[in-house]
């Protein structure tokens, strides 16, 4: 008999010879019955249309659950990049120097981390390292400022013209172009100008105009006059006086037929422009015209 003859028989593949032998066996009858009955068996009803409908509905339900994850991934990437940028710039900005600036006709009082005080005059800039202040007291100055330095490490003011360093004192530094002036009000100040050190005791000033050094008399009060809203000059060329006048009153000046190098001694108010104009013009025998924010100075004896 063939191998798996029952399977062959069920599939009508049995050879005639084998079929003859097989049909004579006593089991044949039951086999025939099994084949006949199983052929008429039916599996439970299965609704293909409904299954397909279920499938399509399921498809719609599951898809949105999966797909929206991707846009968020993109969003998270962007958010991470922005966060990194913000954190990065925060730390970067933190390492930068602290900068303080005043405009024309403006004054600012600044208290440093060690309680030293700075009063910044009009149109001036300072910069310092806030984080390392206690180990390195170094200030860059462009303009004019009055310092009340608390006792501690060496306190240095760097300017384009020279360096001023102290241990704890009150002093004023003015550095404007060709004009460099340091006045000491308390303690001892060391001024390094062109590599040469000058020690300033309380009540002394160090002045450089166009590279010419002049030691001046002591300022009388414990602080510069501009703190009291007055600008004081002693034998200072008129052009520097006018420049200070421009800064304090936020005006522009022009001159006509005037020697701007003539020396000026006196003071003017930083609050009352009319009073200030008189204070400048009368001692210098000048006349002036005020039009809005423009002032013209001209010689009295002009034709």
């Amino acid at each position: 008999m063939q191998e798996n003859h029952l399977a062959k028989w069920l599939n009508n593949e049995l050879s005639e010879e084998d079929l003859k032998i097989f049909s004579k066996t006593k089991e044949f009858n039951t086999y025939q019955k099994i084949a006949a009955v199983t052929k008429n068996l039916k599996s439970p009803d299965f609704d293909t249309q409904k299954a397909l409908f279920d499938f399509k509905n399921k498809d719609k339900n599951t898809e949105p659950k999966v797909v929206p994850m991707w846009p968020y991934k993109k969003f998270i990437k962007i958010a991470a990049a922005i966060t990194l940028l913000l954190i990065g710039s925060y730390f970067y900005l933190n390492t930068l120097n602290e900068r303080i600036e005043t405009q024309f006709a403006e004054q600012k009082e600044i208290t440093l981390p060690d309680n030293s005080e700075i009063v910044l005059n009009a149109d001036s800039k300072i910069a310092y390292d806030k984080k390392n202040w206690n180990t390195k007291r170094n200030i860059k100055l462009n303009g004019e400022a009055f310092f009340k330095v608390a006792k501690g490490e060496k306190f240095t003011v760097s300017t384009e013209n020279g360096t001023v360093s102290v241990l704890g004192t009150q002093f004023n530094v003015e550095n404007r172009g060709a004009y460099f002036e340091v006045s000491c009000y308390e303690g001892l100040v060391s001024v390094i100008y062109n590599g040469k050190e000058t020690k300033l005791h309380a009540g002394n000033s160090f002045l450089v105009i166009n590279g010419k050094i002049a030691n001046l008399d002591a300022p009388k009060n414990g602080h510069p006059s501009w703190i009291d809203n007055e600008s004081t000059f002693k034998s200072i060329p008129l052009k520097f006086v006018l420049a200070e006048f421009e800064r304090q009153h936020n005006v522009t000046t022009s001159t006509n037929n005037i020697n701007v190098d003539q020396l000026f001694t006196g003071a003017f108010s930083n609050t009352d422009i009319n009073l200030a104009l008189k204070s400048i013009s009368v001692p210098s025998q000048l006349k002036f015209k005020l039009e809005g924010t423009k002032v013209l100075f001209y010689a009295e004896n002009m034709p």
């Binding site: 798996n4 599939n11 039951t30 009955v37 599996s43 439970p44 299954a51």
Partner: protein, 170 residues
């Protein structure tokens, strides 16, 4: 170049055709295995979801065996402790000119046969019923299950043999 969608399961009409021609067999395949209609329904849904997800990788020719493999793997780890009790849809008797004795005898035989079928090893039962009820050819079942025709013949042979022994009581 436009992709050829006429021969691609990702094309909805092709997919629907595959679904219509295979879903019932997948259903029966799992049903014969476990005798559980719910599992069979779930298997159909799962298998076709997988097919849809992989529609670009599976060719229509391979779709059939892909579906059975997925359906089969789905319940690989299910403990087969439950006793299988297959139910068959009621078939109205076509002939009424039979004698009551014959009908009684027939029903008795059917009962015995059903019990014997339930006792068959799952692999033999599935193969045997796919052939008897669904009318699948041996070659077709072999392709579905990824085995040789000879292996299918062996299963049918053994199934018939043990059914006969159970019914006749040897």
């Amino acid at each position: 170049m436009k992709p050829d969608t006429s021969n691609n399961i990702c094309d909805e009409s092709v997919f629907d055709t595959v679904f219509k021609s295979n879903s019932k067999t997948v259903y029966n395949f799992i049903y014969y295995k476990f005798g559980n209609e719910e599992k069979a329904h779930d298997a159909v849904q799962e298998a076709f979801v997988k097919l849809w997800e992989n529609c670009s990788k599976v060719t229509p020719e391979r779709a059939k065996s892909f579906l059975y493999t997925v359906a089969n793997n789905l319940y690989l780890n299910v403990i087969k402790a439950e006793k299988v009790r297959l139910k068959y849809a009621d078939k109205k008797l076509k002939t009424t000119n039979e004698t009551p004795e014959f009908i009684l005898e027939e029903n008795e035989f059917k009962e015995k046969l059903e019990k014997a079928l339930n006792d068959l090893p799952e692999i033999q039962r599935t193969t045997f019923l796919l052939n008897r009820i669904d009318g699948k050819k041996y070659a077709e079942i072999a392709e579905m299950e990824g085995v040789s025709i000879k292996a299918i013949e062996k299963r049918i042979h053994l199934a018939l043999k043990s059914l006969r022994e159970k019914i006749d009581g040897i």
